[in-house]
């Protein structure tokens, strides 16, 4: 008897919390409005959560209601979510796509139901795929920009400081903290940052490339080890995101670098609040902001225009367009423009 | 007689640190029951495993129908006409009876070669024919998990027969059978030997061996004591040969003037909360008394005593200890009332297999006698724990290299002594012993009987569940007999007879 009661209490507790949780899924008064289905790649992602919140806030007074789903960084889950939304006959579909290989079939499904489809903050479908249907758009920041900003910041530091070459070998010896193998952003940041340094006429030498799963703790552990092994050779640390960059900074501090000790430039991406604070303190050299507010607002703007039947152009959206691509710029954040990081 | 069916020729087998078999030779004639006896650890099972291809002997030959043969796996043994009934059940519980019988050789129909499907009809008919021959009444399509343990054992026997073997090895086949089912087994054996099959029969039960076998080979500590014709020997000779010393009696003498005190435990109208278990059971036990509980498998004796001990829920009835009504809702309550329970299934509910002898012995006392073992507010006094453990290990003559030895590496008898020590430490007033000597060799049995007598002479009460008639009659002051959850009668232990107990045990 006791056990039954206990199960009942637990289950009802879960249901109550579930009701609260699912309340967050639908935003905007859906009565009479058209509905846009969203497939976000991962609610746990800081950036996605910010953008999602912005879209939801816009929807409160906007003409289009939302139905959001979480793919939990799982391709199978994403496919399920997409199918569910199509089955629900939403009026617009926005996909924060994990797997670029599937975009053709998604476009085909949208075409079958004759609804507009938006690919947001992800790899673009191919030009051929974009051309296959008139109501498909791609809204994203150009991932390579975040790499370029890192490359430029480190190049600038290298050229301005004669002691930047710490072991005097004439090459920029760096370590690269990789977020996730096979991830598009991770790949672009890793490649484009170094490409830009080389384009700026600096010889480079990769000391070590380490997989840290976007995590601060892992980056800290691994960098501590590299510092103990060949700390005197390191000229710069590139990290695919701010969390890993800050992990590297913790390891540097623990080993007597930064502050009063020798300086090693560290660069990240995201401009998180703690990242910006590190820039203020002078421990992080540069980061870049892919503004989730701009992303969220732009997505909702496009939905509004579609709903009102207006054309999608540079002027109406308020962003750079090439064909069906709507590009949002990364903003470089350094000590000189911290205020730009606020959104 | 001609060539013997099986000849064991100077077999030796060593394991790291032990010589399990040392130069064993004997032969088994066609159409005879040849018993192999010995205490636990004498090497019986090792020898059988050598014959059946599970072990390779280091030296010596096994000669079958005059040909040397050494099987490297059981399949070869089966193909050459040797099958074995193992001590542990080998069933696949999720499958049905007939699939279990024909496991590994289920008949097939070819649909299109190589596609085959099982031939259910043929399997069903074959099974019925087999059961018919053996006089068994089991539904071939019933799932094995729904059968009782003893029926499973009969199933094992049927499977061994189904291989059309010339020699069947039976390793303690009656250990989980009731007397009635054992009788079925004996009639099967009778039928088999008449058709020329030979049986190698391993058993602890002396009466059984005397009753059914023609010859007996006795092993002791891995060596051969001798092979004898049953008609030339008696049971005392068997025991002497196995133990290697004189045992004047199998049971200690009853005290001359047993002094029974007041009633220690009184159980009135106890009814289980589980439907179909026991109901309306009333009995009492006096100080210094051994109350035996007899009955067949399914009589609910274990369920009754576990309920008294607080392990199973009770719906109605009262329990009084020393005249005071008590409420026992858990084993902890029972222990606080100075009761102890040595359970039937030693491996499952008795030993803590991965722990040492000390940890096994102290597990009850360190909690229920905590002040004694407390060094300070938090920690236990490990030195005292060990010295207590050492004392009981010595008193109970547990054979072990050290008190830190893992209990699972001891023989069954020594494990049982450690478990007995666990309860003796608590100095209980009432000790419930559920099949205390099952699977234990003759020497260790006698030691356990002695301990029981010593306890009663100190005014303790003992309740002993036993399925062995001689044990019940040899030890109990009174015998309570149960049948299918009912109390069928309480009789005087000194004057009780087999027939009287059997009659009561099957009275419902």
């Amino acid at each position: 008897m006791n056990k039954k009661l206990l199960s009942l209490v637990l289950i009802s507790g879960l249901i109550v919390s579930g009701v609260f949780a699912s309340g967050a899924q639908e935003s905007g008064d859906s009565a009479g409005k058209k509905v846009a289905g969203f497939v976000w790649y991962n609610y746990a992602d800081t950036f996605i959560t910010s953008a999602r919140t912005v879209v939801a806030n816009e929807a409160v007074n906007g003409p289009v209601a939302l139905l959001s789903t979480d793919s939990q960084n799982d391709i199978a889950m994403q496919a399920n979510n997409i199918n569910a939304l199509f089955a629900k006959k939403v009026d617009y579909i926005c996909i924060n796509n994990i797997s670029p290989n599937d975009s053709a079939s998604m476009i085909q499904k949208a075409k079958d139901q004759n609804i507009p489809i938006l690919f947001v903050n992800c790899t673009s479908p191919t030009e051929e795929e974009l051309a296959s249907y008139d109501k498909v758009y791609h809204i994203s920041s150009a991932a390579e920009q975040s790499g370029w900003i890192q490359g430029d910041a480190v190049s600038e530091y290298w050229k301005a400081h004669s002691d930047a070459d710490r072991n005097g070998n004439g090459k920029l010896d760096y370590i690269m903290l990789v977020g996730m193998q096979g991830n598009y952003d991770s790949q672009m940041r890793t490649d484009k940052s170094i490409e830009r340094v080389v384009d700026n006429g600096i010889e480079v030498n990769c000391l070590q490339e380490m997989l840290c799963d976007w995590q601060r703790g892992k980056a800290m552990n691994q960098v501590a080890s590299v510092l103990a092994a060949n700390g005197n050779d390191i000229d710069a640390i590139f990290a695919n995101n701010d969390d890993m960059a800050l992990g590297a900074i913790e390891a540097l501090k623990a080993s007597g670098y930064l502050g009063d000790g020798p300086y090693i430039p560290v660069v990240g991406v995201d401009a998180t609040k703690v990242g910006v604070q590190a820039i203020e303190e002078g421990t992080l050299l540069a980061t870049s902001l892919n503004n989730p507010v701009t992303l969220g607002k732009t997505i909702y703007k496009v939905l509004t225009l579609l709903d009102e039947g207006q054309p999608i152009t540079d002027e109406t959206v308020g962003a750079t367009m090439t064909g069906k691509h709507i590009w949002l710029d990364y903003v470089a954040i350094t000590k000189d423009n911290i205020e730009d990081a606020a959104y | 007689m001609g060539t013997p069916l099986l000849k064991i020729n100077h077999i030796s087998k060593s394991f790291p640190g032990v010589k399990a078999l040392d130069d064993i030779s004997f032969s088994v004639e066609k159409g005879r029951v040849h018993a192999v006896m010995g205490e636990n650890g004498a090497g019986k099972s090792t020898l059988m495993k050598c014959i059946f291809g599970l072990y390779h002997p280091d030296e010596g030959d096994i000669i079958l129908y005059g040909n040397k043969c050494l099987f490297s796996n059981t399949r070869q043994a089966l193909d050459n006409g040797i099958s074995m009934i193992h001590q542990e059940l080998q069933n696949v519980p999720s499958q049905n009876v007939m699939e279990n019988i024909w496991i590994g050789r289920i008949p097939y129909k070819k649909v299109i070669s190589p596609l085959r499907i099982t031939d259910e009809d043929k399997m069903y008919k074959d099974t019925l024919a087999l059961f018919d021959k053996l006089n068994l009444d089991i539904d071939p399509k019933k799932a094995v998990k729904d059968l009782s343990v003893s029926t499973c054992q009969l199933l094992e026997i049927a499977r061994a027969v189904s291989y059309n073997a010339k020699l069947i090895i039976m390793d303690e086949p009656t250990s989980s059978l009731t007397d009635k089912e054992a009788a079925i087994l004996f009639s099967i054996i009778d039928m088999l030997i008449k058709s020329g099959v030979s049986i190698l029969y391993i058993s602890h039960k002396i009466e059984e061996v005397m009753q059914i076998s023609n010859e007996v080979t006795i092993l002791r500590d891995g060596t051969l004591v001798g092979t004898y014709k049953i008609k030339d020997i008696d049971s005392d000779f068997l025991i002497r040969s196995m133990v290697g010393r004189e045992l004047t009696n199998r049971f200690p003498q009853r005290p001359q003037n047993p002094h029974l005190g007041d009633v220690m435990l009184k159980v009135s109208h106890l009814e289980s909360a589980v439907p179909g278990s026991f109901s309306d059971i009333s009995f009492d036990v006096k100080r210094g008394e051994i109350l035996g509980i007899g009955g067949l498998v399914g009589a609910q004796r274990t369920e009754l005593m576990e309920s008294v001990f607080g392990l199973r829920p009770v719906k109605n009835g009262t329990i009084e200890i020393n005249g005071e009504p008590v409420t026992i809702k858990s084993s902890g309550d029972a222990i606080k009332k100075k009761m102890g329970l040595l359970t039937e299934e030693r491996a499952r509910t008795g030993i803590l297999g991965k722990l040492s002898i000390t940890d096994n012995m102290l597990v009850v006392n360190q909690r229920y006698n905590l002040p004694r073992y407390r060094k300070n507010l938090i920690f236990l006094n490990n030195t005292l724990r060990k010295s207590d453990s050492r004392e009981y290990t010595k008193d109970l003559s547990v054979k072990t290299p050290s008190i830190d030895t893992q209990i699972s590496s001891l023989s069954g008898g020594n494990q049982q002594k450690v478990l007995l020590g666990r309860w003796l430490m608590l100095n209980p007033d009432i000790l419930i012993l559920d099949e205390p000597t099952r699977g234990i060799d003759v020497g260790a049995k006698y030691e356990i009987y002695l301990i029981m007598r010593k306890l009663t002479s100190q005014g303790k009460s003992i309740i002993m569940i036993s399925s062995e008639m001689p044990e019940l009659m040899g030890m109990s002051d009174r015998i309570m007999v149960m049948c299918e959850g009912h109390l069928s009668g309480i009789i005087d232990g000194k004057t009780a007879t087999d027939e009287e107990i059997m009659k009561l045990a099957s009275s419902y």
């Binding site: 006791n2 056990k3 206990l6 637990l10 879960l14 609610y43 746990a44 800081t46 959560t49 910010s50 919140t53 000391l207 490339e209 997989l211 840290c212 976007w214 995590q215 703790g217 800290m220 691994q222 501590a224 080890s225 590299v226 103990a228 092994a229 800050l246 992990g247 913790e250 623990a254 998180t272 609040k273 703690v274 990242g275 604070q277 | 001990f309 084993s331 902890g332 029972a334 329970l341 499952r348 509910t349 008795g350 030993i351 803590l352 297999g353 991965k354 722990l355 940890d359 009850v364 360190q366 909690r367 905590l370 073992y373 938090i378 920690f379 236990l380 490990n382 893992q406 699972s408 590496s409």
Partner: protein, 333 residues
């Protein structure tokens, strides 16, 4: 005892874990002599500290023949909760803008309490509702992670990584006392307490009894349900402390903290001699198990081997350790 060949083999087999650890150290020193330094040893011990505390929790669970998939998520929740309560008043992006600076002990105790609560729930579900521990703890892992994300996403934080911890809180992870990093001292104290609890107290002994055989323990008058709940609760409290230290050490916390730590903890315990069947497990074994994994990940990075190889090595070690252990036990019986 004479040092015959078989004796040496036996000594090596009995102390296999220590031999493996020593062997790895020697190999790394041969490849790179700089590996033999106080800094390296200090780094490895510091990185092992939080993992050790989590693994000790996991050990309790394995001893009672349970399983715990919620460990990592509980670590994450504790890290975020401790972090949100340990921010200095000058930090501009505070989780609770109006909250005054609290003494260090407050966030630490609250986080440990939350861990304990999660563990307690695991225990109740396993012991009283008799749900299979894999399923129970998988469920709790999801619930804990979900609540963590909800909490982390509360405005004004909106899922921003937490930072700006008070000096006192950061000192738990980064500071040192008498030249020894505080985090190592905390881990060492925990280890000793757990060791004494396990070896010298009645409850500690009863954990082993329950893990060895629940039925036999029940017959012996042990309250099996109580012991199970105790094991899960203790584990939860240790996860909570692990989360606190992970936040203090890295100077930050996010809802993804601790992801996958439960598997590392189980692996360390198993390599350290715990049995998944219950009833077996020792503190020194778990310590060495944790050290082996941390020496691998630190050492391979140190000598410049790609991090992809680390997983290969770890996987091979887990399998070898368990395979050898099976053989060792078989010989004993």
């Amino acid at each position: 005892m004479e040092l015959t060949q078989s004796n040496i083999k036996k000594i090596l087999m009995d102390n296999l874990l220590y031999v493996v650890l020593l062997f790895m150290f020697v190999i790394l020193i041969i490849i790179s002599p700089a590996f033999l330094s106080w800094i390296v040893i200090r780094d490895i011990l510091m990185q092992s500290s939080t993992r050790l505390i989590i693994a000790l929790g996991c050990m309790f669970i394995l001893i009672v023949a349970g399983a715990d998939l919620s460990g990592g998520r509980v670590v994450g929740l504790a890290a975020v909760i401790a972090g949100s309560l340990a921010q200095s008043s000058t930090f501009y992006n505070k989780f609770f803008p109006m909250l005054p600076e609290l003494p260090v002990i407050v966030p630490v105790l609250i986080a440990i309490g939350i861990g304990l609560l999660a563990g307690f729930l695991n225990g109740i579900i396993v012991a009283k509702l008799e749900v299979n521990p894999f399923i129970a703890t998988l469920g709790i892992a999801l619930v804990v992670y979900g609540f963590n994300c909800l909490y982390f996403n509360l405005p004004p934080n909106n899922s921003q990584p937490l930072g700006g911890f008070t000096k006192g809180f950061s000192a738990l992870g980064g500071g040192a006392t008498l030249g020894i990093p505080n985090i190592i001292i905390i881990a060492a104290v925990c280890t000793i307490i757990v060791y004494l609890f396990q070896r010298k107290t009645c409850l500690g002994k009863e954990l082993f009894a329950v893990g060895g055989s629940k039925d036999a323990a029940r017959v012996s008058g042990i309250n099996v349900e109580k012991i199970l709940v105790l094991a899960y609760s203790l584990a939860g409290a240790l996860y909570g402390l692990g989360g606190v230290l992970e936040a203090a050490r890295t100077g930050s916390a996010t809802s993804t903290y601790g992801a996958g730590y439960e598997m590392d903890a189980i692996a360390s315990c198993v390599v350290g001699g715990c049995s998944l069947m219950g009833g077996v497990g020792s503190v020194p074994g778990v310590v060495v198990g944790v050290l082996i994994f941390n020496v691998i990940s630190y050492g391979l990075t140190f000598i410049g081997i790609s991090s992809y190889w680390q997983n290969v090595f770890k996987g091979v070690i887990i399998i070898c350790a368990v395979a050898l252990d099976v053989r060792k036990n078989r010989k004993k019986n």
